[in-house]
Amino acid sequence: MLTKRIIACLDVDGGRVVKGVKFLNLRDAGDPAELALAHSEAGADEIVLLDISATAEKRKTLLETVRRTARQLFIPFTVGGGIRSLEDASSVFDAGADKVSLNSAAVANPELITQIAERFGSQAAIVAIDAKKMNAPGSYQVFVAGGRTATGRDACDWAREAEARGAGEILLTSMDRDGTGAGFDCELTRMISTSVRIPVIASGGAGSAAHFADVFRDGHADAALAASILHYGITKLGDLKQELAAAGIPMRWPC
């Protein structure tokens, strides 16, 4: 049976892993290569590295960080943040990434999804959507530029368009839940997951094993992402997977 994936996410700024709450108040959480390997050995099914560097100077270190992280990693490895062209994507793949995650650049230039999918395959093109709940019931809007800019676009419509343009997976982050540990947004995840036929990775709000069980069952997520909950050792990956397996969620465990 196809298992539900637990994906460890590393937010990287200038070569270091950082983590904030609702996209703000960043603090240092360690070296990306070391953390990626530790997560992989602990049972992570996949690693996502998101470069959140704001300056060009800090971005230069990204490829070296990707290379160093990929070297000893033999599970799927996704890199996102600041990928604006086919050339940017190519250099990240050359450095050892298996997939790229596109966010703001895909909204600004949706053709980029198709270009990457045609050159590297759909499985290598992930579209990341940062969504925020609006006042109208069941309404979520897409935000870009690290959650700073509203696009006026509906999250469901954008997910469908991304799929049609060749995206292989959707990485869906609830801005309202990011870093809060209050649980995933199951309503948002279910809405997107039932609107597209490609896998949806739920992100934002992981705080306990029960939250993961909820988003896999009620949210119909194919995978779920966790960052702070793992870095600071609050939840050991092995314990998390064991608990989920015991609750009847198909897991790659033992691995």
Binding site: I75, D94, F120, Q123, P199, R252
Partner: protein, 199 residues
């Protein structure tokens, strides 16, 4: 020992190369038929659309691989590379595969999400040279929309909207639908077994 990773323009080959590096073997990415023919091991990787395999024909790589197989060189197809070892694929019905394994690759049924992405468990059904040192029923990483049928040479099956061939083995020709280079310890052990084959 030289390991040729065949580059026919189907995706990113860095990860496959890196896995052999980690095992201490000298692997190289090449599109040159003569270099492929001379190698001690041949890996046919690839992701993406079956039409990409057309360039294996147009560049003389097919003849080089066929002749190497005749000579007994171990050949491993990964993902699209494995599907190419079958007779054909519904994804590009005009193209001919290598035909070492029989049947046509087909799309997953509409009852399941496609592509099949993630870790799934294998059911090893026959004695296999590649799986000999692995735990039974390993979890491995897949990402594909088309699947190969069960053949008499199928050594591992997988279930997703019905059973399909996850690994095939016939003399010195091997194919795996999953990505051993992305399947953690199990995948690395499998690649090591391929490097250590005595056939």
């Amino acid at each position: 020992m030289s390991i040729a990773i065949v580059d026919y323009g189907a995706g990113n080959l860095t990860s496959v190369n890196k896995a052999f590096d980690c095992l201490g073997h000298e692997a190289f990415i090449t599109a040159d038929a003569e270099t492929v023919h001379r190698a001690d091991r041949i890996v046919v990787p690839g992701v993406g659309h079956f039409t990409a395999t057309a360039s294996i024909d147009s560049t003389g790589l097919r003849a080089a691989i066929e002749s190497a197989i005749q000579r007994g060189t171990p050949v491993l197809g990964i993902c699209l590379g494995m599907q190419w070892m079958f007779a054909s694929s519904a994804e590009a019905s005009g193209l001919k595969g290598l035909g070492i394994f029989s049947g046509e690759c087909e799309h997953f049924p509409s009852t399941v999400k496609s592509p099949h992405v993630g870790w799934n468990q294998l059911c090893c059904t026959q004695i296999s040279k590649l799986f000999a040192k692995l735990e039974p029923g390993p979890f491995v990483y897949f990402t594909h929309s088309y699947r190969a049928p069960i053949d008499e040479y199928t050594v591992a099956r997988c279930e997703y909207g019905g059973e399909f061939s996850a690994a095939v083995e016939r003399d010195n020709v091997f194919g795996v639908q999953f990505h051993p280079e992305k399947s953690g310890t199990a995948g690395i052990k499998l690649l090591e077994a391929f490097c250590n084959l005595s056939c």
